[in-house]
Amino acid sequence: MPQIYIMAAITLSVSLALWGGLTYLLTGHQKRFFWLLLLGLPLSAVANLLLKPQAISAVGRAAHIQPGLGLAAPVWFLAFIVLITPLVEEAIKVLPLLLIPAWKMVTSRVSALWVGFVLGVSFGLGEAIYFAYGVAQSGAYDALPWYAFTGFLNERIMTCFAHGVFTAVLVIGIQRGGRSILYGYLAALGLHLFLNAPTVMYQVQWISYELYNLSLLIPFIVLAVIFEWMRRVVREPNDDQSGNEVVYWQRHIAE
């Protein structure tokens, strides 16, 4: 068995525990979002096998660009290749909302945030499986033991959270309706590009592998800030835990 699968199993377990646990704790111990974790699992494979390659080859054929040019391809085409991932993925991640039970859960901005977050995490988990499968099929890393794939573990755990934040942004936009849908999509697109920037810089050899690994932390921290900001914005009055408060003593300030 390819050793990457062992690390993929660890990655899925840790991501599920971490991001599922976070959802459970931050939603006040609600379990009703968890079934959504199943819906996004196949979507990364669909995007990567069916949609993205076809879109790239269709545009390449239409513009008479030879396949396999790599960095020698026209700049606009390279930009399109960079753009196609967020364009396709941000759209496909919200497809499960076409299912009535999923859509019925989006009753408020706060539920939109959690539905989006869980759908995004689900997509991220599926993406980890798909990437592990891809690595196993390539055979290039067959000689490596499972513990050599800690880079995969770190990157995929963070990416699951990132996908959760992107999709939460878009689902909040969809819940608000009108132009907010477009704004939500563009915001998710922009954030996705921001996350992918270190990968693109590493691929065009602007940064080293070590710097690439470290630079993943910056978008992750920015996304965590955005996630907390969104939670504050969509907060509902009954989120305050002061209902069970017991005041033992309070200084009386003379007026």
Partner: protein, 173 residues
Amino acid sequence: MGIQLSNPIKTFRPRPSFGWFWLVLMAAIIIAISIVPALAVGLSSSSAVVTLIVCIPVAISFLVLAFCFPTMRYELGRDQLKLLYGPVLTYRIPLGEIRSIRRRSLSMTIWSTIRFPGIALFKVPYADVGNVKMCATAALNNILLIETEKEKYGLTPADEEAFVAAIRAQMEG
């Protein structure tokens, strides 16, 4: 969990929890999925060296905190309350600066220093009350919140009523 009255300083223990287990678990996870694999890959790899430089101090920190867990206590002196956690944490609260003492549950944010089920240490941001300096065996539920003019402190004395009565007696005495 009782009160020791052998000297003017009264010592109160926190209510029991399995917070130490989470600290050990965190150290174990870091060792299992970062340090052991990095050592197995070998020090010739720069990624492995970076992993070890980052992860070994973090794992040791968690183990030190777990080791210090039984030392968590609250010392009430003549004019100040000290929150202590081994040699790593000491908060001093002058009794004259206390504005309120209340028990409540807190809303979580994703930011924290040390906050796991059964333990919260150092400054932890909460969604509803802002930053709280924690020295407690609970992270969210039934926290005794002591507010001064500048800071908020979170603690979890085992005998909460005796603890509050002792502070009030000291402040009013």
